[in-house]
Amino acid sequence: MQYTFALRTIYPYLGTLWQAALVTLYLSLLGIAISLVIGAGVAVMRRSRSMPVRFLGAAYVEVMRNTPLLVILYIVYFALPQTGLRLSSFTAALIGLSLNSAGYMAEILRAGLIAIPHGQREAAASQGMSGLQAFRYIVFPQVIRIVYAPLGNQFIAVILASSLASVIAVEDVASWMQTIGSTSFRFFETFVVAAGVYLVLCQSVNLGRIAIGRALFKHLRSAR
């Protein structure tokens, strides 16, 4: 038997694909933003002077990096309701994705913090800057520059990982692929189109990141 590859067979489903792509994009961008904030907090915890705080930060990172996102999503969506906390599938997916990604974000940001030579903080202190001023004007701008490229990897990882949200009934691109594949029986075409959509989404976010980087670090060759 021969399969005739024909993209036009899925034209009727493109309207729902657009909706699905927006859900994937929305979920991913929110997940990136939230996990950056949590990750920044955890990275700072891991450099705390207090041992218990450092331990908590490290424990968070290890738990999130050593458990599958799939399991985290199941816990948030299926197990939490048993304790009375009922979440929409989108909210559950966003929480699971953010918690998971924050573990990686924390490690990227921590590497950036470690990379700033101690002399920078000393120079700032010797000029009379407070810890907060040194962070705001000296440390933070340099950390951003260092972590900018590795963060880009993690942004893409979040977009791709968001496809797992389809297993808890989020109607994203992966979910569209499964639904349309099994209603139209044009599996090959839907899979290829879904792959293309993820590719375009990832590249758009990445190019956006690079463009922002160019503007932020316009004088520096290492901006990419």
């Binding site: 030579p117 002399g119 000393e122 120079a123 202190a125 010797s126 000029q127 340099q142 520059r145």
Partner: protein, 245 residues
């Protein structure tokens, strides 16, 4: 004569069980250029770092302009605002241009108007002979240029005391002279300076006092020419002859 700008009384600094400064006492008057010499590891740099509270101390007392220096107190900021520090490794801020490096602290720490600070900074760049490098980033400058920017940066806050921690030790030989020339100008202006250095010629020409330190103590403290001509201790004699070749 006015009173001392800096008084150090039986200062003790330890790192763990190692004693770095062992009951050191000295005072510095305005206009003095004090050059610290001695073998490495004898606490010269640590002494400077204690004076502006980058290191806490385990005993004794430091008073700067009559005010007690305490590394962990909030008052330390007021002391640091009046002391300029120049580091061996320059420690310029690599994400800022030379001009921005100089302007930042007066604006954010001292709350001055950016326009006024920039005007003052341009004069400082003339003084350190780097007017043509004002928009360069540290990575685009030689070590000697970076160190001169660092000097301009420390001058921008109108400090009452300048501290140089081995300012030429990380430099290529040919750029050392440019930095020393700038430091010489500052000394001639009558600025109060503490200089940790191995440049004995500079110390002899520019210093008003030479302090020879060994094992956390002051061994000799005399006018440079006297000390170089006739070190009164065997330890200083050996050290000075070894570094003068």
């Amino acid at each position: 004569m006015t009173g001392p700008i800096l008084e150090i009384d039986t200062l003790v600094k330890r790192f763990g069980s190692r004693t770095i400064l062992d009951g050191l006492t000295m005072s510095v008057h305005p206009g003095e250029v004090v050059c610290f010499v001695g073998p490495s590891g004898t606490g010269k740099s640590t002494l400077l770092r204690c004076v502006n509270g980058l290191e806490d101390i385990q005993g004794g007392e430091i008073r700067f302009e009559g005010e007690k220096v305490e590394a962990r107190s909030k008052r330390i900021v007021a002391v640091r605002k009046r002391i300029g520090m120049i580091f061996q490794q320059f420690n310029l801020y690599p994400h800022l241009t030379a001009l921005e490096n100089v302007v930042l602290a007066p604006v954010v720490v001292h709350g001055e108007a950016r326009k006024e600070v920039e005007a003052r900074a341009r004069v400082l760049f003339e003084k350190v002979r780097l007017s043509h490098r004002i928009d360069a980033y540290p990575a685009q400058m030689s070590g000697g240029e970076q160190q001169r920017v660092a000097i301009a940066r420390s001058l921008a806050a109108n400090p009452h005391l300048l501290m140089f921690d081995e300012p030429t030790s990380a430099l290529d030989p040919e750029t050392v002279g440019d930095v020393l020339a700038v430091m010489r100008d500052l000394a001639l202006e009558g600025r109060t300076m503490l200089v940790v250095t191995h440049e004995i010629r500079f110390a002899a020409d520019v210093g008003t006092r030479m302090v020879f330190m060994d094992q956390g103590r002051i061994v000799e403290d005399r006018p440079p020419r006297d000390m170089l001509a006739d070190p009164s201790t065997e330890r200083a004699k050996r050290f000075l002859s070894s570094i003068q070749g």
